[in-house]
Amino acid sequence: MKRITLLLVALTLVVPAALAQSKPDFSGTWKLSGTMPANYPGSAGWGVPSPTLVVKQSPTEVTIQAGQYGPTPMTVVYKLDGTDTIWEASSATQSGATAMVKWRTKARWDGNKLILFTWNTALNQMRDVMTVSNGALTIQRGTEQPGPSTNATLTYAKGS
């Protein structure tokens, strides 16, 4: 009985760690490669890909530095426990005017894919489905704004 209890305790400790370790690590500096779709990006520069992404990943969050979420690069945090991160920033709106805009992010794993959600009150939305394979980062990006929806596949290579 004692052995079974110890085994269960060990499994309780080891399995989650093993599962966590099985998730891909997106950390690093990534350089945009390939060409952008013709109809990209959406209105007000929303969804335009950053030439460079600096990704930091911990067991609890992913931070994307220099992410191009609009006309201005930003550093954005995505918590991996499914909870929201909310902040305010002076940002471009659909009309082109700058205003205080509320931002919100969320993330979740779907197998080896990491899905990042970004919204703001200037009516912009972005869903990035990130995968990494053979040293390449692929982002399936969908955006919404009052104008047309966009879908694009963005490819990044490891840079420095």
């Binding site: 709106t93 659909q94 009309s95 919204w119 009150t121 009516l123 939305q125 869903r127 919404e144 929806s149």
Partner: protein, 390 residues
């Protein structure tokens, strides 16, 4: 030569008649002199010029310094119970011109959700005089991260008269109890859009209409390019449509109306500037080109009324696609419209139009001796099961 002239004239008449009266003729061709009724220059049709102070509750302002922004939807349950779907309030300039009429369209800035709309008083209910009956402020938070309610409806066939609200930007459809106290169903996944094959998620849905058995159809929408058919519980049964310009393909299916015998599904394919007609399993039947409706309404007399985004005209079609009457014109003065986005009518013959760019909802009262065939008649609703009348 003399013998050929009558023949040529006859051919011209035949060709002109075909073009003018065929369902394939464009709207501009069909609302010309041949329609003989309404037509270009008829601003309000068989209706009086609306009172610019209706609804009273929103005039002069919902609260000091703020004004209603984009008006996505309006639904008249009865002459004394009208639901208004407001896509947020906007801050007025510090100095407002003395001739300011009270609606956002006056400022000529188009999108009445910008720069940032405050999502308050998103669903309100007013009486026939426009006095506030209910403000569903408990649900304002639902709209905070989007652009507010897109449209609002009650199924004509629901004895409980649930209130349905489409939120395109957050990709969901809500069903509330009649009094607004409970949210009983959310369709779609909040804040997550899905692609055309995904039956659990929408991508900016736009409009709903029902069959008598409770089956309903959703136009989906700005992002996707399809119609989804649901049973009365909300279980997805099938979908049809893809992006394109061919039969059964869409570019912004934005309006939908269901009716006729056998029933048909009329879809406003707004981006392709046409209405497409399907059977209830999605089989393409025909198209009516030359009109790009924001919204459509199946009337009690089984006609499709469409509000055209190209011309700001309100157009009455028979179910074969022939134009019987039209009126309306772009503008911001009373009676004119700027992007009429939902059309509804009550049992007294009053017409209501919500305007997304004009930033107002107008109530049109029939003229004395109005021709009833030129008025919009909403479908009567099932009697409310647990009687509440106003």
């Amino acid at each position: 030569m003399r013998s050929r002239t009558p023949s040529l004239t006859a051919w011209i008449i035949v060709i002109f008649g075909f073009v003018a009266f065929s369902p394939r003729a464009s709207l501009q061709q069909r609302i010309g002199p041949s329609a003989g009724k309404g037509g270009v220059g008829d601003i309000t049709g068989e209706y009086e010029i609306p009172d610019p102070n209706w609804p009273q509750w929103a005039h002069p302002y919902p609260k000091p310094g703020y004004i209603w922004g984009s008006q996505g939807g309006v639904f008249a349950e009865s002459p004394n119970r009208i639901y208004l779907a407001n896509r947020g309030e906007l801050k007025l300039p510090d100095k407002v011109p003395p001739n300011f009429p009270g609606n956002w369209g006056f400022f000529n800035q188009m999108a009445a959700t910008q720069p940032i709309a405050n999502m308050v008083n998103c669903i309100v209910v007013v009486d026939g005089n426009g006095k506030l009956i209910e403000a569903w402020n408990q649900w304002d938070k639902l709209f905070e991260w989007g652009r507010g309610p897109h449209q609002v409806y009650i199924s004509p066939y629901d004895p409980e008269r649930h209130v349905w609200v489409v939120d395109d930007m957050r990709h969901v459809i809500y069903r509330f109890t009649h009094d607004g106290k409970q949210l009983v169903q959310t369709m779609g996944v909040l804040d997550e859009f899905g692609e055309n094959d995904d039956l659990t998620r929408f991508r900016r849905p736009t409009m709903i209409d029902w069959l008598p058995d409770g089956t309903f159809f959703v136009a989906d929408g700005y992002g996707n390019t399809r119609v989804v058919k649901f049973d009365k519980t909300g279980k997805a049964l099938l979908k049809w449509g893809s992006r394109g310009t061919g039969p059964g393909q869409f570019n912004t299916p934005h309006g939908i109306a269901v009716g006729g015998s056998p029933p048909r599904v009329f879809v406003s394919d707004r981006g392709n500037r046409r209405i497409q007609v399907f059977d209830t399993d999605g089989k393409f039947l025909e198209e009516w080109p030359g009109i790009a409706p924001h919204s459509m309404l199946m009337s009690a007399d089984e006609h499709v009324w469409a509000v055209d985004s190209l011309t700001d005209r309100i157009v009455k079609f028979d179910l074969s696609g022939h134009v019987e009457f039209s009126f309306g014109q772009f503008g911001t003065r009373p009676g004119y419209t700027w992007a009429p986005h939902q059309i509804t009518a009550d049992s007294d013959g009053n017409l209501y139009l919500s305007e997304v760019f004009g930033g107002r909802t107008q109530k049109y009262h029939p003229k004395p001796n109005a021709d009833p065939t030129k008025l919009v008649w909403g479908r009567s609703l099932m009697p409310l099961a647990n009687a509440r009348t106003n």
